[in-house]
Symmetry: C2
Subunit: 338 residues, 2 copies
């Protein structure tokens, strides 16, 4: 026999067998009633329903999953659940998945590229599919992993890979912002770089290169910055010393740091210096002055990832690419060149 030692269902719930016995029917019949199949006589169905009520019977989803071969659950793996970007994407995925009757299992790799592959595999084994958000692992590792975890959707990974991808076109984002600055008369524009080697920073550089080619007469400067408010704050003096009339932070946090330093130094934004951000985080609207930035609807990104997965679950599509283009949000931190 295989009776377990103590382990039973924690809340000691009734099983389908309990209901069948109490109602004097077979388990098949109970199953049919629970699933609303019409081929059950009304009297029997009523009796079963009453027993279900009395016993507080609730079918085990685990058993259903095993029997049906699907869990109605999708995994979402992010590098850091504390990061608002991933929180918004998660929210978008969850909303869309819930509408389709799916639940979301989350996992956080704590920014560890090394832990990612086994984590994704583990999550996939408990779910029907995975959405991998901004994976930090190398491309070759990702290529080795993908066949083991399909159906899978990748968010924010720019290389071509054998999976559906949802990406934000940051390159065209910076380019848009630069064109806006140029239209306002800025001729010397500075970009504060983000983490070297990051996917986002690579995209920014592609955008800047594009602008440089389009506008040979514009001075496009770059300087190491970072991705935090402090990084922006500390870079301020160096920024001013370049003589640029407009500065583009790697993200909104950096630009908010610049704004704080400008206020302390008595530099008037945007009269003396235009400051542009990237991301449109919720607080960008409330800084002094409000931040002009590039906006991406991250919840829509999460929703698109879910839609892509839905298509894959129905095997409508094999691998494709869905691109989100950031939109310029004009507020008060950017103005005409002095």
């Amino acid at each position: 026999m295989a009776r377990r030692p103590g382990r039973t269902r924690p809340s000691a719930g009734a099983t389908i067998s309990d209901v069948a016995e109490a109602a004097g029917v077979s388990r098949a019949t109970v199953s049919r009633v629970m699933n609303g199949r019409p081929t059950v006589s009304p009297e029997i169905a009523a009796r079963v329903r009453q027993v279900v009520e009395e016993l507080g019977y609730n079918p085990s989803r685990v058993a259903q999953s095993l029997s049906l071969g699907k869990t109605l659950t999708v995994g979402v793996i992010v590098p850091d659940l504390g990061n608002p970007t991933f929180q918004q994407i998660l929210h978008g995925v969850n909303q869309a998945a819930a509408t389709a009757g799916y639940r979301v299992l989350v996992a956080d790799s704590a920014e560890s590229a090394q832990d990612e592959p086994p984590l994704v595999e583990d999550v996939r084994r408990r779910t029907d599919a995975v959405i991998v958000c901004s994976p930090r692992m190398r491309t070759d590792e990702l290529e080795a992993l993908l066949p083991r975890v399909q159906p899978a959707v990748l968010i924010n990974r720019d290389e071509p890979l054998p999976a559906t991808r949802v990406v934000v076109d940051s390159a065209s984002g910076v380019a848009s912002m630069c064109r806006h600055l140029i239209r306002l008369g800025h001729r010397r524009i500075l970009h504060l770089d983000g983490p070297i080697g990051s996917n986002a920073q690579a995209a920014r550089m592609r955008g800047l290169t594009l602008i440089a080619e389009e506008n040979p007469d514009i001075e496009l400067l770059r300087m190491p910055g970072g991705s935090s408010m402090d990084a922006g704050y500390e870079a301020f003096d160096a920024v001013m010393s370049t003589g640029a009339t407009a500065v583009l932070g790697f993200n909104d946090l950096v630009s908010l740091g610049l704004l704080g330093a400008a206020r302390e130094r008595g530099v008037v934004v945007p009269d003396e210096l235009s400051v542009a951000g990237f991301d449109d985080i919720p607080f960008a609207r409330f800084s002094t002055p409000p931040l002009t930035t590039m906006s991406v609807d991250l919840e829509a990104v999460g929703e698109a990832a879910w839609r892509a997965l839905e298509d894959r679950l129905r095997s409508v599509v094999d691998a494709d690419l869905r691109v989100f283009t950031p939109a310029l949000v004009q507020r008060a931190s950017v103005g005409l060149a002095p």
Copy 2:
């Protein structure tokens, strides 16, 4: 027979039977090898491992869950995944649960009190336990639900209930802030109320009542406000008309709105008016001036909820209460009474 129509495992993975057959051993032996049981001869174990490698075998977590009677998954139900408060709590739960080898299934009730009970039940059926965060449902509904979903932990629900609860003591939080203001010489203090009927607003009122009793000489005013930045912004003129020297927003957003309006009106904070917040959201540090507020470590709240659940899973404890007391964070938006 019960062969399914098309339905097989989506990624067509190998099963334990495939491995057993290929390695020429029983499924029991494969299981032992996979679980690192020492009672397998080294040669056989090595052969099994090689086949596992060749076939890319990965045990089904669903089957394991059914067999073992546990999923190693915990459910977290929140009213709104887009709310930073719940995002931080979720992050804390996830970190602590991951350390213990558990995964987190999230669900969002979209602020619908009505949808909560069935949602919690559904989540519970797929997991070993649930953490229900700031449930919106009525107390009697919660009482009816709890026995069906144990083990369960409740976050931010102030009534005594048959479950372990983790609560933030907002009442003592407002009281602390009021005492701080009184020490600074403020004699007329205004509280901008939040959503009427909310758990948090009720707690605020308890705190204010306590202060009124302690300090009969202090004028403690109240006024309808709200929970958003706009609410704070719009209440500003009314706030000024009360002649209060210090105002306490329902939360940081409200207070940030007040700060914005003060700047526009040329009212100097804190010289002419002290503005205090509640929550210590990440941006409270970066407003102008930085916001004095009551801080709660929400990730620690999430972590505590997990710990409480761990105790319940080991049935160490039946029901208890873990209280977090907000801490005063002094920044520059509060000063001596004029």
